[in-house]
Symmetry: D4
Subunit: 214 residues, 8 copies
């Protein structure tokens, strides 16, 4: 077969395998979802277009498609939310889909999330106005395209780990998010690490890991 | 003056400012160290060559130069070590200096550290033999140059967050560490984030933040 | 004319010329196929879209279109299969088309093939479970996108040559397969060489050469 | 001869030709300086190493070598300073040489300059504390290496044009200043333009042009 | 909500926030436009496709869509034009859209503009014939794709600041405007600075700032 | 207006201005063609899609659209052909459009051309079989994509100048022709120079210049 | 300790661990050599400078330093040489060190080798004159810098697998061997695979694997 | 041996083999020079450092070392100079060594040369003042670093072929000459082709070929 579902992952990594929807056909997705279902595991499909989501939502009762985040989830029982929370900041309106991918992922794993959207560094008062929320978070996700400066500024304000997510928002010399990625990797602020361009899922997953440390 | 020491950082970020030694003269370093000393703060100078370290170690009693890590530290009281620990794995002997930069940094902030060195994926049994230690760590730092595959393999084995550190070890198409960096950013394992090439300090600092979450 | 078919290749290289389908019109393809047919040679057209395959399959009786592999073949007599075999491993479900391009090519030249699909390094037990098959192969093809770590891990497990095939599977900093390509070129495992991104054909052809060494 | 001095430039561009010192021999520099002297023009040699400056300072009475800025100047009469001023901000101590190159250049052309050094975005209070000075400047030069975020933050605070100067300060994925350059070009703040990596001279010259607009 | 409109910008930066149209839905654009309208601010939406402009022009009486420039503007009172003017030169017919983006932006802010279009360096007499106009301008915008040489030539002819705008016009090794961008950053002429590829808006905004210096 | 047609070019450069069709609208093309027609000049429009060519061919009697070359020409009198000839070699069937762009251009300027198509270095006998023709040419154009090796081999066989044209033919690490371009620039054969990726026009024009040297 | 010697590799991979000399100190090398010696294994140290080789050759009786190849070997019994042979071709005199690294490696593992040096494609008769030797080889290694065309030409002449080794020989746009590497990956000849820039060792090791297939 | 001197080249290519001095030892150079001498051929060694030239000049009577051009020549009889001439223009004083490499090469093959040095586009009157000389040349070499604009401007002024030579002169985003190279490849002027960065030899050789066309 085309897929070898990693059912052991829940045990090994503390979280069930997650399906990377991009480039998979609806048939392949259905197969993998069925395989996970039969093992009683919750399901999250990331990077799923609306077209592919539609038939799957119909076939899998209880499944929900989160449009902006492009994620499909199917959960047997809603997890209880954490007391500590993850703060997700993003720089511009166009970065919201990536921020939402992080939010839906984090909530799927039972985390409380507080979003601060469209608060880029060109109007610094917007992020500074939220300093208190930022400082109360157990971990912060900072999402930005173009020059990717938001995570540096945020990491300078807080004691918590900051997960930086570059986005492909921009044009010309933004080179599909490479500029934001490089900027974040070179941050002169400490306590910051970086995930792949547009990888809201990865940021949400990691933030959950950190937020749930007992 | 040339420097505006960020004395407020201890309060704001939970850790005193740290000095980036590269490209600074001994005179500049002495000035900044004096300024921090007068505020009663502990001192860590990273990326410090042996030549520049020598006079500073003489002038600042109690300061120690960690040769492999290229770090100078000066601590008024040794911090008590954490009960949970950080595991630092590296792929080859040539990656050890970066791993040591992470270790000295983490220990400076009072963390227990367990190193697993020279355990690259070409001889998989070496890292597999340490699965237990890896699984007990609260956070893992995985250091590798060349193809940068170690963090992916490690992240697949554990439940803890993995901080990936690419190194500039390699030649030809390793492009000074860019290949390892890119590989780590594209990891298909979850729970992994990346810092700059050779940034052992950044990894150690972030690991400390996570390890000390109460 | 637009093409100068290399009929002498069977003699010179031990295998008939193969048609690179991408960027050729159906008319050009028909011409070249006819020219090869008239010389009594078997035909393989790679990188052929379904649209272009359809009319050609109709016109050339006995020809077969392999959808996932995007290859059309026409063989006068089925070659007898080799006793030794080629093992083809791939990392994820999305890498299957490239793996299949390698498989169809290798079988076209009369090789036995054993596939191990969706066995990426993030769930290491999947590839480790197949260690015996891998070790019995005369040559291994390892296909992976994203961080491209699978070939390194495989080469560390076997005595046979490993042909690494990077794929364009991924997003963001995968840069269309460049990251996987670079990772494979920098493998710290020995006995591994690399072909172009998505070049399943080249890998299958080379594996056949090695597998058939007498 | 090797050089064709552009004596007409004072007339055409409002400022005499300036000598790019890098890669020229002391003999070539002496020739060009003599040629400019004979036309009664003030002299500025940029990117001049201390070794090459030494003999020239001796031979040309009245000439001054600015060590940090690596500039040699020779002025017949000190120009009167402008009432409006240029503000030069830089992110870290290691960026000071580039900032100084800008300052000496601007002062050479008769501009008042106010420096704000070591005020990077990781400790935002440092640059915010200088908001008043920044707002009074007629034009601002913002110098930064690594992630290059300072110009974006500054441009968000002021009404004046901001000239962004990326520096080669950093390591790893800073790629010799390319990251800072790209970040600045992608700034989401308006009123900002960019010069070449480490081009303090160009920034100082352009700032002078703008500051002296009547 | 998805957006946090920066109403304070008029005060802080001397110009109201401007809407970056690319990647925003008509619904998001309508919301932001309403929010700005309610604060009595003039509106400029850049990078707006004709499809998205159509409904907005209908809903917002008095708004105008500038097709070539891909800008929508809505102004309560036409600003009085400046006496000094901005000259906008471009190299080829294909660069006109970017030049027009700069022109509409500059005029929106009340600047007089004189365009010199299709005057690239391969037929030097075309730009030389306009030397007088260029020399009378208070600031020049020079727009070019391909080899990006026009700004260097223009900056050699005038005393005013030159804002260089690389465009994505070209093919092959123009790499989407990267070549023109790099050429402009390396100009051996002084008084020149650079904005992002195709960023006519940024150039027009900055030119306005400089032209309106009192 | 949008265009400033360079009518003086025939005089200055020995050849009338040529129209770069890509990115221009049919309206703009018609205007420029009319302007050239009124000056009695022959017309060549390069990089013209079939869609845009159709109406223009109808409106301009005597004009011809060369489909493979994507060129439209309109010539008042057919030029007499040169006695010496230009040889145009290309590596594969997919490179033919670029080779044809060079051929139509060269013939437009009155040159005799001999094509050698689909003669790449993987089947060396194909190009070696044409050594005599190659050696008789006054100038050779060598067109290749993928690894771009043909020009090196050809330049090693002849005494005439070789103009190398990289094409965007290939996939994966061919990076849109960048690989072929770089290979050609690094040729260890002498007497070879390079034009932009896919720039058949430029090669044909330059070859004409050299072939017509009296 | 700094190293975890992979003693099991002989068993697992059919060849003992090999020491990558670059970046290791003499002390580290001595430790690893001793560890291998104690396990009775043969030793090969690659990328070893003359300075570091000198003391080691003295301390380890029977060890030999191969200057051009920059390899140190220590073998308990000379292996019997294979009947089939590996052919190693290189393009220019400057590529010889990499070719020699491959040769010494292959001979270390008991292979017969026939070298064809300085036979680049700019003088095609040189490699064509050796066609017979090339065709008799069981596997060919083709080494080239600059445009990297030799492997394509060789692979077109033979039935055996070709291992292409790009070298860093060249200047300017050879970008440290990246051009040759890319050219080889894009070869239109079949049966060719590529190793890292300057990786003579990897090529020799893989060729040995293939040559010794029984 | 290490070298296979291409003695047949004079016949095949109309010019004897030339020695690429970079990376060769004095011993290797002596061997090759002797081999060429014994065949009665003239000798040109390019990219030869002063250190390596010294012993060779002593050993080979009649040989001359051209310091700026870094070329050694040995000619049995001075060739008669051509009536037509090659014009070599360069942009700045720092580009002179590359221009001189072209000049010495061209003169070695018997060409008359007229140099126009330090005439870059930032002071356009300098190159315009030489329009007559440029127009009389049979072929022009245009050498420039930084933004590489000179060849475009020159090609717009003349009817002769223009050979563009990018140099590594510059800093920051000049990326070792890559920017100038890219700019030249994208020239909107016709009749221009490009050689490798700093390849004065290649330009001089090709110009000679064209200048000597009978
Ligand atoms: N959006 C995403 N970005 C990166 N990795 C992902 C994403 N979604 C899922 N994954 C990872 O990709 C793996 C599944 O890949 P696949 O086997 O191709 O479905 C999962 O184990 C996830 O950890
Ligand atoms: N998918 C492929 N990738 C790389 N090379 C290929 C592929 N398919 C065919 N080829 C090679 O391309 C050559 C044919 O190219 P062409 O003459 O353009 O049809 C054949 O000789 C094959 O060796
Ligand atoms: N075409 C453009 N290019 C670059 N920046 C722009 C452009 N148009 C608007 N902006 C800036 O982008 C900001 C708005 O971004 P957003 O909040 O995403 O609408 C504005 O403050 C402008 O300064
Ligand atoms: N400076 C140079 N740049 C590029 N190619 C050169 C140069 N000098 C010599 N060559 C070419 O390099 C070949 C000699 O290379 P080699 O055999 O390594 O000495 C000659 O045939 C020349 O055509
Ligand atoms: Mg906004
Ligand atoms: Mg090891
Ligand atoms: Mg999977
Ligand atoms: Mg500081
Ligand atoms: Mg035009
Ligand atoms: Mg073909
Ligand atoms: Mg040679
Ligand atoms: Mg000059």
């Amino acid at each position: 077969g085309h897929s070898r579902v990693d059912h052991d992952r829940l045990d090994r990594n503390g979280a069930a395998e997650v399906i990377f929807g991009q480039g998979k056909t609806v048939d392949q997705l259905r197969d993998i979802m069925n395989s996970l279902s039969q093992h009683g595991q919750d399901i999250l499909v990331s990077r799923l277009t609306e077209e592919k989501a539609e038939p799957l939502v119909k076939e899998f009762p209880g499944s929900v498609y989160h449009e902006t985040a492009r994620i499909l989830t199917l959960q047997h029982t809603k997890p209880e939310l954490t007391k500590t929370f993850i703060c997700i900041a993003c720089a511009g309106t166009s970065d919201v889909p990536v921020a939402e991918e992080a939010r839906i992922t984090a909530e799927f794993y039972g985390n409380s999330v507080k979003p601060i959207y469209d608060a880029g560094v060109a109007g610094l008062h917007r992020i500074l106005a939220e300093t208190e929320v930022l400082r109360q978070a157990r971990v912060v996700i900072a999402v930005a395209g173009m020059e990717g400066a938001l995570p540096s500024v945020v990491a300078g304000l807080v004691k918590a780990p900051v997960i930086a997510v570059p986005t492909s928002v921009g044009y010309g010399a933004s080179f599909g998010g490479a500029t934001a990625l490089l900027a974040m990797l070179n941050s002169c602020a400490s306590g910051l690490s970086v995930v792949n361009i547009d990888n809201g899922f990865g940021a949400g997953y990691l933030a959950s890991m950190i937020n749930k440390i007992a």
